[in-house]
C-alpha cells in the first residue's frame, strides 16, 4: 500500500535521468541570473548517486535518501549541494528505518526536507529560490495526505504544486543566492533551483506509478 525501497531507488534513478535530460536547460536558466552551473552541478551529483546506489543498494527508503544526501553534499558543491544535502538528510531522518512509507509519513518527510532547506539557506517564500517550489509542494502534500491516504496522490499533488511554484518565481525579485546581486534585473527569469526541485518531485511521483 505504501512506498518501499524500490520506489526510493526508482525515484532517485528517475531524478538522475531528469537531471541529465534537463542539464542544459538548468544551465541556461542559471545563466542570466546566476553562473551557468546549476545543471552541471545537479547532473554530476545525481550521476554519483546512481553509482552509490549500485555499489551498496540501500535496504530502506530512509537509507536511500541518506545515501543521496551524503552524495549530493560531497559532489554537487555550490549553493545547491548543501541545500539539497540537508533536505534529503532531514527527509531521511523523518522516515527513520521504516520500509513502508504511508501518506502521513511521506508528507512529514517532505515537510522536514523543506524545513531543512530553510534552516540551512535562510530563504523565505518569495525570495526566488527552491523554497518557492518546496513550500507549495508540502502544503499540497499535506492536504492530499489528509484525504484518502493514497501516497501516489500525495506525490502527484506535491509535483504539480512544485511545478506551479517554479513558474511563480518568474516575476519575483531575488533576495537570496547569486541572483540577488542582480536586484531588479532578476525579475522575469525562472529560478533554476526551483525548477530542479520540481523535476525531483515529479520523479518521485512517476516512481510511484
Amino acid at each position: 500500500m505504501g512506498l518501499d525501497v524500490g520506489w526510493a531507488v526508482r525515484w532517485l534513478t528517475l531524478s538522475a535521468q531528469a537531471m541529465a535530460e534537463h542539464r542544459v536547460e538548468l544551465i541556461e536558466l542559471d545563466r542570466p541570473i546566476g553562473d551557468s552551473d546549476h545543471g552541471e552541478n545537479m547532473d554530476r551529483g545525481f550521476q554519483a548517486v546512481l553509482g552509490k546506489l549500485a555499489e551498496a543498494p540501500p535496504e530502506t527508503p530512509g537509507a536511500a535518501l541518506k545515501l543521496t544526501a551524503m552524495t549530493l553534499m560531497s559532489k554537487v558543491g555550490g549553493a545547491a549541494g548543501p541545500l539539497y544535502g540537508t533536505a534529503f538528510l532531514r527527509a531521511a531522518t523523518a522516515l527513520g528505518d521504516t520500509s513502508d512509507v504511508d501518506a502521513a509519513t511521506l508528507a512529514a518527510a517532505l515537510q522536514a526536507a523543506r524545513d531543512g532547506l530553510v534552516a540551512r539557506g535562510k530563504a523565505e517564500p518569495g525570495d526566488k529560490t527552491m523554497v518557492d517550489a518546496w513550500t507549495p509542494a508540502i502544503e499540497a502534500a499535506a492536504a492530499a495526505a489528509a484525504g484518502d491516504g493514497d501516497v501516489r496522490k500525495v506525490l502527484l499533488a506535491a509535483a504539480e504544486a512544485a511545478e506551479a511554484g517554479a513558474v511563480s518565481t518568474d516575476p519575483m525579485l531575488a533576495r537570496k543566492g547569486r541572483a540577488s546581486y542582480l536586484g531588479e534585473r532578476s525579475i522575469g527569469h525562472r529560478d533554476p533551483g526551483a525548477v530542479s526541485s520540481a523535476l525531483i518531485l515529479r520523479a518521485a511521483a512517476e516512481a510511484a506509478e
Binding site: R31, D37, S74, V76, G77, P82, G177, R178, Y181, L182
Partner: protein, 333 residues
C-alpha cells in the same frame, strides 16, 4: 568556444594536475577529493590557513599556497564552490594542533560548504575560525541580498593573515587580522566581455560591442549596471569612487592600491587604470604606500578589471611586506 582544454569535464582535474607538476617544490596536490597543500604542512605550532572556492579564478586560491600565505586551497568545479568532503581533509592536513582558519568568500555556496566542513572538523577536534570576505561595494542593499561578495580583497586577506600565521600568531589573532583586513578593504569590478564556462559552452552573458557591465562579481555573473562603453579614466572613476567613498578615505590615509585583471585584459591596460586611480588618490591626499597590478583573481578569460583599496596601518603594511613564497606571489625569499 575555443579553449586550450581536452574535455570540459576534466578541466579542473588536468589543470590542477599540471599545477602540481609545475610547482612540486612548493605544493602537494591530492586528486580525489581534490585539494592542494603546502609541501611542508602541517607546520609545527603554526595556525593553518585554508581557502577555496570555485575554479576559474586562478591564480586564486592554489597559486597562494606556500610559505607566508595559505596552507591549503580547495578548488571546486568551475565557478562552483567545493564540497565538505574536500574541505575537511584539507583542514585536517594543515592542522598542527594550533587550529585552522577558513578564509571564505561570501557566496551562499562557499559559506554553506565551508560551514559544514567546519562543523565536521570541529567534531574531529580541530579548532576552526572562519574569516568571511565581503569587500564588493557593487552589492548595495546587503540586507535584501546574499550580502556583499568576496572579490579582490580576498587576495589581500590571504596574504596578510598568512603572514600573521607565519610569524606565530595564535588562532584568534590570525582570524582577527583577517577580519581587520576585510573591514578595511573594498573593491569594485567591470567587465568588457563575458566569459565562457567550459561545461556551458556559451558566454555567461551577452554584451554589445559598445556596452560594459559595471559591478560584476568574479563568477561570470552579470553585474549591477550596464552602461555604454567609456574611456579608461571614466571607468576607473566609476570603480574607484564608490570604493573610496565606502572606506571613507581622506587626506593622510595610507593605502594599498590593487588593480586586478579579470584574465583577458592586457597588463598595459591595467597600468592605464592604475595611473588614473593613483592620480585620483593623490589628489585626495591619500598616499599609495603599496601596489599590486596584474591578474590575481580572475574570471576565466573575461576582459575587464577590478580596483581594490586596502587602508593600511603599520602592522598591516609590515605583514604585507613579510616574505611570501607561493606559485603566484613571491618576495623576500
Amino acid at each position: 568556444m575555443k579553449k586550450l582544454i581536452n574535455d570540459p569535464k576534466a578541466v579542473v582535474d588536468e589543470s590542477v594536475e599540471g599545477f602540481g607538476l609545475a610547482h612540486a617544490d612548493l605544493v602537494t596536490v591530492f586528486p580525489d577529493p581534490k585539494y592542494i597543500v603546502r609541501k611542508d604542512a602541517p607546520v609545527a605550532g603554526k595556525v593553518g590557513l585554508v581557502s577555496g572556492g570555485g575554479s576559474g579564478h586562478e591564480p586564486l586560491h592554489g597559486g597562494y599556497v606556500g610559505k607566508g600565505m595559505l596552507d591549503a586551497a580547495v578548488p571546486g568545479a568551475v565557478f562552483t564552490s567545493p564540497t565538505p568532503d574536500q574541505i575537511l581533509p584539507a583542514t585536517l592536513a594543515v592542522n598542527s594542533g594550533a587550529g585552522v582558519v577558513h578564509i571564505v568568500k561570501n557566496y551562499t555556496g562557499d559559506v554553506l560548504n565551508f560551514e559544514t566542513a567546519a562543523e565536521l572538523a570541529q567534531a574531529e577536534g580541530v579548532d576552526v575560525r572562519t574569516v568571511l570576505v565581503n569587500d564588493d561595494v557593487a552589492v548595495e542593499d546587503s540586507l535584501y541580498t546574499a550580502g556583499r561578495r568576496g572579490v579582490g580583497g580576498t587576495v589581500l586577506v590571504e596574504k596578510i593573515a598568512g603572514a600573521a600565521a607565519e610569524r606565530g600568531d595564535n588562532l584568534e589573532a590570525v582570524a582577527a587580522i583577517g577580519d581587520r583586513v576585510n573591514q578595511n578593504v573594498r573593491s569594485m569590478g567591470v567587465a568588457l566581455t563575458a566569459c565562457t564556462v567550459p561545461h556551458a559552452g556559451v558566454p555567461s552573458f551577452e554584451l554589445e560591442e559598445n556596452e560594459i557591465e559595471i559591478g560584476i562579481g568574479i563568477h561570470g555573473e552579470p553585474g549591477r549596471h550596464r552602461i555604454p562603453m567609456e574611456n579608461a579614466d571614466g571607468i576607473t572613476d566609476r570603480l574607484l569612487d564608490p570604493v573610496v567613498g565606502d572606506l571613507g578615505l581622506g587626506s593622510g590615509d595610507n593605502v594599498l592600491l590593487f588593480v586586478n585583471g579579470m584574465g583577458g585584459t592586457p597588463q598595459s591596460e591595467l597600468y592605464i587604470v592604475y595611473r588614473r586611480a593613483a592620480q585620483k588618490l593623490a589628489e585626495k591626499g591619500v598616499t599609495v604606500a603599496r601596489s599590486l597590478v596584474g591578474n590575481y583573481i580572475t574570471s576565466l578569460e573575461m576582459q575587464g578589471c577590478s580596483i581594490t583599496v586596502l587602508r593600511l596601518d603599520d602592522e598591516l603594511t609590515a605583514l604585507w611586506d613579510a616574505p611570501v613564497h607561493t606559485p603566484a606571489l613571491r618576495w623576500g625569499v
